[in-house]
């Protein structure tokens, strides 16, 4: 069962605070994880990724943490800015199907002024 779950449809965070978006997966063969960001009326854009050999990857204000034993990853945005308001998709790929991405349903992040 290859599922990627984002159980929070939406999240509101005060500007300047930390935003934490969560993602769970069910398939133990997933070994590469990606986060995409999507603005209304635009296509998703790649944000950050992490390989299963790491437990953390950082890129500026964005950090992704991976907990393999819990099959859980999270995206931290610090500090949150108004332009971060978007839908964030978690996605995963399995080592035996490196060409295929399974997407979660997305979490809509609202940054409040």
């Amino acid at each position: 069962d290859q599922q990627v779950k984002q159980n929070s449809p939406s999240l509101s965070v005060q500007e300047g605070r930390i935003s934490i978006l969560n993602c769970d997966y069910t398939y133990s063969m997933f070994d590469y994880f990606l986060w995409y960001k999507k603005y209304p009326a635009e296509g998703p854009t790649f944000l950050i990724s992490i390989s299963s050999i790491k437990d953390k990857n950082e890129d500026g204000r964005f950090t992704v943490f991976l907990n393999k034993s819990a099959k859980h990853l999270s995206l931290h945005i610090v500090p949150s800015q108004p332009g971060d308001s978007a839908v964030y998709f978690c996605a995963a790929s399995a080592m035996n199907r490196d060409d295929k991405i399974i997407f979660g349903k997305g979490t809509r992040l609202h940054i409040l002024p």
Partner: protein
């Protein structure tokens, strides 16, 4: 570079009508993809292509057809539109097969079937 472009942006179809969603990329990418996104859902893969002349089914191919005669273009054909095909359709491309290579998405085509 325009990246990945899609036309039309929005279309209303009647049940049973046909249409082609156009997708073009100018990055010389071999791999191209068609996804659909239903409200509140993630992206589901419809069809993909690994190069001109080569296409394969994804997760939800029923009701759709594709062709890939050039590297640049990857049109998606709906032959007999059904309400279940109401969705937002995204085309994407990337350099190679691995998801470790960045996948670029077009802006999407919103389709409403009534």
């Amino acid at each position: 570079n325009a990246g990945v472009t899609q036309t039309p942006k929005f279309r209303i179809l009647k049940i049973g009508q046909s249409m082609t969603l156009q997708c073009t990329q100018d990055m010389n990418h071999n791999y191209m993809y068609w996804y659909r996104q239903d409200p509140g859902m993630g992206l589901k893969l419809i069809y993909y292509s690994v190069g001109a002349g080569i296409t394969d089914k994804g997760e939800v191919p029923n009701g759709y057809n594709v062709s890939r005669s050039t590297t640049e273009d990857f049109p998606l054909r709906l032959e007999l539109a059904a309400p279940s095909q109401t969705s937002v359709y995204f085309c994407a491309s990337r350099t190679g097969t691995s998801v470790r290579q960045t996948q670029y998405f077009g802006p999407g085509t919103r389709l409403l079937v009534l």
